[in-house]
Amino acid sequence: MSIVWILLNIALAGVVLNVLFSKSKIVQKYVSLLVFAGLTYFSFIMYSQVGEHFDFPLQIAGQSIGFTITWLNYYFGIMITGISLLTVIFSLKYMEGKDGSTNYYTVLTLKTFGMLGVIFSSDLITFFVFWEIMSWSTFALMSTGGKEAPKSAFKYFVFAITASMILMAGVVLSYSLFGSFDFTVIHGKIGTLSLSMTGFLLSIFIVSFSVESAVFPVHSWLPDGYSNTFTTFTAYLSGISTRIGIYGIILFLFGIFGMQTIDKLSIIGKINFRYIFGVFAALTMVVPTFTALYQHDAKKLIAWHSVGQGGYMLIGLASGSALGIAGGMFHVLNHMAYVVLIVFAIASVEHRTGTTNLNKLGGLIKKMPVSYLALLFGIIGLAGLPPMNGFVSKWFIYRALILGGYPFLAIAAVIGTLGTILSVYKLIHNMFLGQLPERYNNVKEVGFSMQLPMWILMIVVLGLGIFPGVAMGLIAKIQISLGLAAVPYSLHGIQTASGQLNMMVVGALFMGGLLVAWIIYLLGSRRKHISQYNNYAAGNFLDKNVAYNFNYEFYAAMEHVIDPYRKKIIQRTEQGIAGLTDAVSEYVRRIYTGMINTYGIYVITAFIVTIIILKELI
């Protein structure tokens, strides 16, 4: 029995057990823990079966369908199962006593099942079927949680169903073009296609995956959808769910269409398919990142970032060079590690204080140092500063863009990074720094089972930052298996003819710098820690009744600068589409007036029109 079957069966069994034990949360908890531990174990040992193929005992249109294990889906597989396991461990305590949590583990398992199916599928039909399962379970995932959840889940659904329909068209179109659903067969025949048809088919697939990976014009479902559900789901969704869209894009761009085919799709000179794709990716980085500045809710802020970070992955893929693609793929892993870490920290705060409203929190560093540290590691990764992992992948991407001759895409990435620094500082400042409100005086740090995932992820975030080679080995294998050039990596970074990156040196120098600074620090006389109310306020007396924290409208000036653009362009476009559908519906509805004489006229008109048209046809 192959490991793919074991994985999918375990996941399915998890779903069934969760449904069966829907009355007992405790059983659900431990069953899920066991299921996800099993999934993680089996997915990690799966590398022994890479390259093997397994068929379903069912045929569609005379085609055998099934699963295959490649390095690419092994990479995504371990990410999915790993992060699910951490989410479950974190949820054990987090979900205690939460309202509406009976479906929690069920939808989580179902979603994982769907995702595993998608990534391991070896043909379009399996891919599509699991894609649908995944979309629907995402919808279910999003609709659990807060009051606003169903509404925002609905928004997602509208986008997802659109994407599904487009994907379905793509699946069927490629079947009618190639006569097969199998990825490898399609890959073999792709060269026979005319250029315009290739472009059309590729666009269909890319557009439908863009929805799931929240690329700029079709991203607006994500922030609300992700932030209104349970915070642990926010972590899970931002960390891995969105990235299945990226998986699809990688698979189709490189696995099925292949680099040579894509590079043929050129309009004028440099303006080719990849470039256009890159422009969308750049917009994805810039626009959502700056929208994040406006957010007053920690979850929403991070959700916007998870849109923006998707742009980095895509722009890396769009760069088309080995370095850029490696950066894009590596960023998926990195993003998953730090975003989940950040959201776990937020969840911890929410667990203790009951809110994620950034205007209400503050000063929690004194009460929850571990969560603070987790958030700190996470935001350094998110902002892409050394020595955390986010830096490495972003470095790859920048370098690929600069050397590939895409300065404006590179600057978009820079703008995104700066916007990220701004908003993550707001996040950490408004939650953990500043004045501690009196009502949070008795807040405690979260328990061990919630700290454990955070510690693990902190190690991952820092470890991948210093030793990117650990993941790069796998990524190089993926690149080779997709027929791309591999990046010459070492344990500490990469080494190419035109420059190298050595994270060990960066890390060591940083440590050395800290050491020197520490010695200088020790040279001064001792210090004492003082109360937050012992503070400069131009001679005013501060106490617990004075709310002096600065966190409301943290970046008001910036908002003044970018407001005009944002309002004009983005909001109006979004409202436009919804308004159009409503208007069309309203007009169409009026066709049915309810008056029989109108209907009579319709029949007579139809009769005449039919005569006229059919006369031409016959």
Binding site: V158, A169, S585, I591, I596, Y599, V603
Partner: protein
């Protein structure tokens, strides 16, 4: 071997029997109807294997065609008989609890007449009899639409009556023209002779027939009666009207165009009409607040989809259209039947009044969700496979026109999913409270569950189903010939 004429005679006879015995059997007449429907299902199932070998031709009253009248049962007839009688049986079971009052025998009489008409239209091999059965079907459905006797029901019934009459007059003119020009009313004979008719006369026959049948088949813009009629009829009748009655009319159009008139040139026009119908239906449904109107408009959209698939001029397309018919019959019946008890229990047609009803009626709500998912074409429900085959058939033709149309069809699906999901969300809203509402009774739920089983288990027997629909499709696509039939 069973005689297919039983399919017509049994319900017709039982209908008369019910009205005769109504005075002393009172409401127990429904068991007579049940017996008739069970017999019908049995006959149709018995017919199927035999018909698959060779079409059956039943000559009535001993006069051979083309002079006499006959029943012609090909795979089309057999499959549709099963569809009609099975759906009819389940809806009948549902009606046992749903229809209340003293004059139930009227309902069952008309119900059986509706079944008779549907069977007749499918099975007859004679154009004039087609008209007769069409009238039986139409008249019984006019009355059933107004069965509840409420104001809007009666209004809808009158509208339906007027438009339906226009339709039947057009058909009658077509029949008369056919007899005048071809000198025969037998379908197979007509198929042989139709090519010899003067082109302008052919055009007129075609137009009269298509517009006339189009009224019943709910093709835009002839379908203006449908939203009113389907939404104000009793839910069981809505289920039938949406579930197979309009499809029967549609399949008659398709059958005539392909295998009798053999005028495949006009299929492009039909598919354009189909897509317009689909978009109009879906967009009109988008803003409705009355649950049955939503379902009614959605039926228009689905008819568009089916007609689109069937006018692709390929066996694949017909096959896909037939699968879509099966899916639509099952899922739309579920939706209408569930909606029936939602309305009964809450006393309201407004979707907004069902806020949180899933807590009180969990089983019904679940069935509703399944119906919606299948209608939208979500895997692994049956609807997914039918929609997939529609899209596949359309794209397989390779024409740009059809590709564009596919995208419009998928756009329609998107709109459809939006409004359906909105309903589901309202039903599953946690905060909502509908007061003390009970779950629907067991028997109707059982009927609904049977439809659900079709949808859920459909993909397990997919090869068999495609086998049957495939032979139906190849029957339709082949031109009828007198020699083949006899």
């Amino acid at each position: 071997m069973v005689n297919p004429i039983l399919l017509i005679i049994v319900p017709l006879g039982t209908a008369f029997l019910i009205s005769l015995t109504a005075s002393f059997l009172k409401n127990s007449t429904k068991y007579l109807a049940l017996l008739a429907m069970i017999a019908n299902v049995w006959v149709s199932i018995k017919l199927l294997p035999a018909v698959m070998q060779h079409p059956i031709n039943v000559v009535i009253a001993g006069v051979k065609p083309p002079l006499g009248i006959n029943l012609f049962v090909g795979p089309l007839g057999a499959v549709f008989s099963i569809l009609i009688s099975a759906a009819g049986l389940l809806i009948l079971l549902y009606s046992f609890k749903y229809i209340e009052g003293d004059s139930q025998h009227k309902y069952y009489t008309l119900f059986l007449l509706l079944i008779t008409g549907s069977h007749g239209m499918i099975l007859t091999g004679d154009v004039f009899n087609l008209f007769v059965f069409f009238e039986i079907l139409a008249i019984s459905s006019y009355i059933l639409v107004g069965y509840e006797g409420k104001r809007n029901g009666l209004e809808a019934a009158v509208k339906y009556l007027i438009l339906g009459s226009i339709g039947s007059i057009l058909i009658l003119v077509a029949v008369a023209l056919i007899y005048q020009e071809a000198g025969t009313l037998n379908m197979a004979d007509l198929a042989d002779k139709f090519g010899m008719i003067d082109p302008s006369k052919r055009l007129m026959i075609l137009v009269f027939f298509i517009t006339g049948m189009g009224v019943e088949a709910a093709v835009f813009p002839l379908n203006s009666w449908l939203p009113d009629a389907h939404s104000s009829a009793p839910s069981s009748i809505s289920a039938m009207l949406s579930g197979f009655v309009i499809e029967v009319a549609l399949i008659i159009i398709v059958k005539f165009v392909y295998s009798i008139f053999a005028m495949t040139e006009i299929l492009g026009f039909l598919s354009l009409v189909a897509v317009i119908t689909l978009l109009v239906g879906e967009f009109a449904a988008y803003k409705q607040s009355n649950i049955k109107r939503v379902l009614a408009y959605s039926s228009i959209g689905q008819i568009g989809l089916i007609l689109f698939a069937m006018s692709l001029n390929s066996t694949d397309g017909l096959n896909a259209g037939l699968m879509q018919i099966i899916n639509h019959t099952a899922s739309k019946s579920i939706l209408f039947l569930v909606a029936g008890f939602l309305i009964v229990r809450t006393g309201s047609y407004q979707i907004s009044d069902y806020r949180g009803i899933a807590k009180k009626m969990p089983v019904s709500a679940f069935f509703f969700v399944v119906g919606v998912l299948s209608l939208l074409g979500v895997p692994p429900f049956f609807g997914f496979f039918s929609k997939l085959s529609v899209v596949m058939a359309a794209l397989h033709t390779g024409s740009v026109f059809n590709t564009v149309m596919v995208f419009l069809v998928l756009l329609g699906t998107i709109i459809e999913s939006i409004y359906f999901l909105r309903i589901i969300q309202i039903m599953y809203n946690r905060e909502g409270d509908v007061g003390s509402v009970k779950e629907a009774p067991f028997l109707p739920l059982l009927a609904i569950a049977a439809f659900t089983v079709v949808i859920l288990a459909g993909f397990l027997v997919l090869p068999q189903i495609t086998g049957y629909t495939g032979s139906v499709a190849s029957e339709i696509v082949r031109k009828m010939q007198m020699a083949q039939v006899f």
